[in-house]
Symmetry: C2
Subunit: 385 residues, 2 copies
């Protein structure tokens, strides 16, 4: 198995761009990735594109507009983890020698089709009964408060922190600071989660070019190594551990093992903060703190930009935005940017090892009340200098 590196990255700003097509969003991200890497479009051997909502062959359509028509193209849907799924499959192909040079795209155009909550398959009976993501995470929030003494202020702090970070990221959907009071006083969405406890819908794209590390070195000295890429998928389980994700745990633990590190070695972390409570739940699931300790972790400043382990320096889903298929690739781009030392005002000093956790899908067990985890797919990537 060959070591793989990210050789170039590019993004289309996340935001509301209802007038743009998927091609427009993806094109800008890809052209920046070409420029960033020094790779020419004709060198790309395969395209791996993540997109969650209904579009036909988005990878081909974007490839056609950026000078990469006619290469094998795979379009992936894995809910909110579509982008990192495309990255994972591309990594497999490059690491196993199927191809040398892959273009990974994450893209989503939500504005023309969605307002409000992300549509979840109506065959999921709990969803038919009104149990959309905000409803579930609202329940998780109250349960976390009940079980562990987590406070509404601690939840709000996650949003304050991520919006603070988003102010320093020109690609973020929102560049605006909020106070705890403003977050608590924003419109109630699903008690106790307010509007600012929830990630927004939006449009955007992210692209990365990957190749074997040996080849990457010929192009640039700014390439970043992929030390682990792991997908974990939801299994059968009791509904008891509502506040914990076995998939996130499994995915992260396998990734730590693959990279030969422990959570203590992480310098930068992007986690899937679709809701403030989600960020806290994943802290506990991936082992950066004990169960029930996540609220304190935020309150004590550990995961703020100036803390010991900054989390969601990009602004996270809460502030950077969450155009579904783009999110997983954008998280990886934040890791690359930090590890290169190119994150500007949000740069984490001496960042050497960074991890991203992207989650998506709905656990089919929810249909029967048999699964405690709302999410079905957890993809973990660990990158290093």
């Amino acid at each position: 198995m060959r070591e793989v590196s990210v050789i170039g990255v590019g993004m289309h700003k996340f935001g509301k761009f209802p007038e743009k097509r998927v091609e427009d969003l993806g094109r800008e991200a890809c052209l920046k990735a070409f420029q960033d890497s020094g790779v020419e479009p004709k060198e790309i051997e395969s395209i791996y594109c993540g997109l969650a909502l209904d579009e036909m062959t988005p990878g081909q359509r974007i490839g056609y507009e950026v000078g990469v028509p006619g290469v094998p193209t795979y379009n992936f849907e894995n809910g909110c983890a579509s982008g990192s799924t495309a990255f994972n499959d591309a990594w497999k192909a490059v690491s196993r020698g199927v191809i040398d040079m892959a273009l990974v795209i994450g893209v989503e155009s939500m504005s023309p089709v969605i307002s409000g909550v992300i549509p979840i398959p109506p065959t999921v009976l709990m969803v038919k009964m009104g149990m959309y993501a905000p409803s579930l995470f609202g329940i998780f929030a109250y349960r976390h408060m009940h079980d562990y003494g987590t406070t509404l202020e601690q939840l709000a702090m996650v949003s304050v922190k991520n919006h603070d970070n988003g102010c320093l990221n020109p690609y973020a959907q929102y560049q605006k600071k909020f106070t705890i009071e403003q977050i608590r006083n924003s419109r109630m969405i699903s008690d106790p989660l307010t509007l600012l406890d929830c990630s927004p819908t939006g449009d955007g794209a992210a692209a990365a070019i990957i190749c074997p590390t040996d080849i990457a070195k010929k192009y640039t000295d700014r390439s970043i190594k992929v030390k682990a890429s792991v997908m974990a998928v939801g299994g059968y389980q009791s509904s008891a551990p509502l506040l914990f994700s076995y998939e996130a745990k499994k995915s992260a633990n396998e990734a730590y093992k693959m990279a030969g590190i422990s959570p203590k070695d992480l310098d930068v972390l992007e986690v899937h903060d679709c809701f403030t409570i989600a960020e806290l739940m994943w802290y506990e699931s991936i082992g950066i703190c004990e169960k029930g300790e996540s609220g304190k972790l935020v309150e004590e400043g550990v995961t703020w930009l100036t803390g010991e382990l900054p989390v969601n320096t990009s602004g996270g889903l809460l502030s950077k935005g969450h155009p579904i298929g783009a999110t997983g690739v954008a998280q990886i781009i934040e890791l690359v940017t930090q590890l290169r030392g190119e994150a500007g005002q949000r740069q984490v000093d001496d960042a050497e090892i960074a991890m991203a956790l992207n989650m998506g899908g709905v656990n089919p067990g929810l249909i029967m009340g048999l699964a405690g985890n709302v999410f079905n797919v957890a993809n973990t990537h660990i990158l290093s200098k």
Copy 2:
């Protein structure tokens, strides 16, 4: 690279099942594939699922219902070639040693969401102007008649042949014979294509279990080898050769080379007969006859069940049906069934080498009138005893 074999297959009958969920369709196909192979669900290491229309994480949802929860699951969308794309990516993973045992699913539930033509991205301007698939293929038909003297009767014969074959396939959506007159006299859809020149919409699923040939032999002596798996994607091209698919040609030629055969070695062929004219166009594109000769090939009986090279013995898309994501996997199942000698009344004698061509997507060049090919993805698979 390891040789890969298909160790077991299963289908849910194609047809109109608006009351069934994607899970119901997929479950039946997968359970049959397990029974057929002797493989147990717990032995599956990864799921590769093809589905074209909007559903979230279908592979996980089906896996959950058939005892395969919790394995890495990739959901692919590549238009009408989604199923064969899933098969191609699974083949790569098994042949390169990423995993040993993969479950490939093709599935689609169209009845609840579609009546009439398959929706094509509205960003394709020619589609906005009314250029849906039937419109394009109607133009192709008239042009083929003009350029090569192909007749309306020859077009209709493709449908007669495939419906004859479909009568012998219990999994086909339609088991009904038609005469040339009945086909010509059916409702006009897009001049000169009538209703029976067009494949129907429908629901269905197909599943295949693949593993290295060495391992397959331990389970069964009915395994079938995958000799080639090739995806070709549409490039930039002039609009001149409207009646020819460069992708189909490229995909087939690379597959012939990979398998070490020529078109003359084929005993059984499934091609993407979304319309009668399509079957003729692909004959010429993949080199089983010269340009302009396809009409005669059908008229002379070469591609009928009793001919030299039977094509679409399953009934093809015209009679077996075309639940989009399921089609590519179902084609491969027909090859396996024929090569095993298990095709019953539609069995081709001494079938040793078989090929399937699955096509999908819309060439982005159509937007600008820059591409002659309506299709964007051509996947070719060659299997042998």
